[in-house]
């Protein structure tokens, strides 16, 4: 086929960026002999005044950011059309906009979406990923000055789904980007929530939770590029693992460039191992080129279930099974509560409960 990527070298697994990923399971997304089908995979389920969706030829809407991610590079090669969602300047979108996926076939596909938030606009957008898919997917968020976007990305994929995704925000002066990533479904999810700034006074809050059971590989690679002065970032990801060969990877790269004076950043990753045979990799990286900052820190913990919490609850008559569920719900509640949507909260917690019951944890 003439559309096949030229000069493309598939990763071998020895690269730093791919060393944790089971490449045999990416479903052809990185295979140079397989073409990806371009798909406009996003639709709005609840139209709102102030928000428009247009499908644009890829040639007319180039990507805004540079990426060295091979899955993203591959996806961009094959993309024919881009979904462009725009939030009008100065608009306050009171109800969360819900995005569903369409046109996913379970064969190797590529999708690209740009979300542009106008000056001083406020919006919450919830992306609901479900069903089967083999998808190389890119979202870019272009936040104009003074805008606030809360983007919730729910990975509730079916069992065999493969999702290689990038979610990149470019945050202008005094704009705020809140990202909430929840990954519970899919066979292999490798998601890159990344952020760069294009003006001072901007901030990013990246929250996430993942829950992996038997054989799932859930990988989140965050990158915060502090390339402007006086920007703030917070990263808080929590994961739980249960069952044989459940594997999670969390990479938190924060880069404070020499010009990024006044940077304030903190990143945190906590993992809870609920059974033997599961593995959590957690790698925070902080690179600092200037000392003129407000603060920079990171923490990473991976631990087993806290027996003291279980004992405390059980000593009040609560059976061990219910006590465990309370503690696990409690562990995730901090992140799930931020979605501020009871229906989604209940759906996620029910899924976590039922998967816990399945693996007998």
């Amino acid at each position: 086929m003439s559309t096949l990527t030229t000069n493309y070298l598939a990763p071998t697994g020895r690269e730093e960026a791919w060393r944790f990923t089971p490449l045999a399971r990416v479903g052809g997304l990185l295979d140079s002999s397989i073409a990806l089908e371009s798909v406009n995979s996003v639709r709005i389920t609840n139209a709102q005044p102030g928000v428009t969706l247009n499908v644009v030829r890829a040639a007319d809407l180039a990507a805004l950011s540079i990426s060295d991610d091979l899955a993203t590079i591959r996806a961009r090669e094959f993309i024919e059309e881009v979904t462009h969602i725009q939030v009008a300047a100065n608009s306050q979108i009171s109800e969360p906009l819900i995005l569903e996926r369409i046109g996913l076939t379970g064969k190797p596909q590529a999708s690209r979406t740009l979300i542009s938030c106008g000056v001083n606009s406020h919006a919450t957008i919830i992306l609901h990923n479900s069903g089967e898919a083999i998808l190389a997917d890119e979202f870019e968020f272009d936040l104009a000055s003074g805008s606030t976007l809360t983007f919730v990305s729910l990975q509730e994929w079916s069992g065999k789904a493969v999702h290689l995704g990038r979610q990149h925000a470019i945050i202008a002066r005094d704009a705020t980007f809140n990202s909430i990533v929840v990954t519970v479904g899919g066979s292999l999810v490798r998601l890159l929530p990344t952020v760069e700034f294009s003006g001072p006074g901007s901030s990013a809050d990246l929250q996430g939770l993942y829950f992996a059971t038997d054989g799932q590989h859930l990988e989140h690679r965050l990158h915060v590029d502090h390339n402007f002065p006086n920007a703030k970032s917070r990263v808080n990801y929590k994961g739980a693992l249960a069952g044989d060969k459940a594997h999670t990877v969390w990479i938190g790269d924060v880069y404070i460039r020499s010009n990024a004076e006044g940077t304030d950043t903190y990143e945190l990753n906590r993992n809870l191992l609920l059974s033997d045979g599961a593995r959590a990799d957690s790698v925070p990286n902080l690179e600092i080129e200037t000392g003129e900052i407000v603060g920079a820190g990171h923490a990473s913990t991976t631990g087993r279930f806290d027996d003291e919490q279980l004992f405390y609850l059980s000593s009040r008559g609560i059976p061990a099974e219910i006590a465990r569920r309370l503690v696990i719900r409690g562990f995730f509640a901090e992140i799930v509560g931020k979605i501020k949507n009871e229906e989604i909260e209940n759906r996620l917690m029910d899924r976590i409960d039922s998967e816990l019951a399945k693996v007998g944890a």
Binding site: F311, Y312, S315, V327, R329
Partner: protein, 250 residues
């Protein structure tokens, strides 16, 4: 009328160098309505006694028995012991992030009572109990013990005592870390529960201070893993005066 009977209880904990025996044959019988103060120096095994009865997995029972009205407590799981009517007010209540006090209390009450309490009466019940303990109403929305002050933690323990209505309560150094006002409020809570029920109390303390508020019927001196002297309230006065020296050097 219920009876909590501890006979020849021997308990060890696993340490790096093997098992260390902490309780060396404890005999103690508590009947409904009685208050027994267990007093002793630090490290004598008082808290081990409390946690062993509640079933903490850290402790291994190597001998003896604990029965509640003849039922073998040591054969019960931790939650079964609570359902049977035992309650341990902990010295260091555990933080449970993300679990609200409201949710926790209701889940516990449901487990203990065998059915979910009726919403309307339950809310009133909790409010009233909280008010009696001088607790702010927003307390219920906070996560269990998370960020609580020492006094708040202890009040929260006594709140549970009021709501769960056990047959026997073990109060493990409930007085520690409390200022005079908090000690009075907590003690009044315990006395209120006792006045309204047939509660038997095992009051573990290092100091005699709390005994001014909660009057014991019996005082037991605990040293080196067992009870070494028993008497009435007057024994506490002697301890106040002379300390534990004669028991620890003996």
């Amino acid at each position: 009328m219920s009876t909590l009977e501890i006979k020849g209880l021997q308990v060890s904990v696993a340490t790096e160098s093997g098992f260390t025996e902490i309780l060396r044959g404890v005999d103690l019988t508590i009947k409904s309505g009685e208050t027994h103060a267990i007093m002793g120096p630090n490290g004598s095994g008082k808290s081990t006694l409390a946690y062993s009865i509640a079933g903490h997995p850290k402790y291994t029972i190597t001998g003896g028995s604990v029965t509640l009205d003849g039922a073998d407590v040591l054969a019960m799981s931790v939650d079964e012991r609570a359902k049977a009517g035992l309650f341990l007010a902990m010295q260091y209540p555990v933080e449970v992030p993300g679990v609200s006090v409201t949710n926790f209390l209701r889940t516990a009450a449901t487990a203990i009572r065998g059915e979910a309490p009726k919403v309307r009466t339950w809310v009133g019940e909790v409010k009233e109990a909280m008010k009696a303990l001088n607790m702010d109403t927003n307390f219920a929305e906070r996560n269990v013990n998370e960020g609580f002050s020492g006094g708040e933690k202890k009040r929260h323990e006594i709140l549970q005592l009021e709501l769960l209505k056990p047959k026997f309560a073990i109060l493990d150094e409930t007085d520690s870390g409390l200022d005079v006002d908090a000690l009075r409020i907590v003690s009044e809570g315990v006395n209120r529960v006792k006045a309204n029920s047939d509660l038997g109390i095992m009051l573990i303390t290092h100091y005699t201070r709390i005994l001014r508020y909660i009057k014991p019927d019996f005082v037991h001196v605990f040293a080196a893993g067992k009870i070494v002297e028993e008497g009435g309230p007057e024994l506490a006065d002697k301890l106040e005066e002379k300390g534990y020296a004669e028991y620890t050097t003996a």
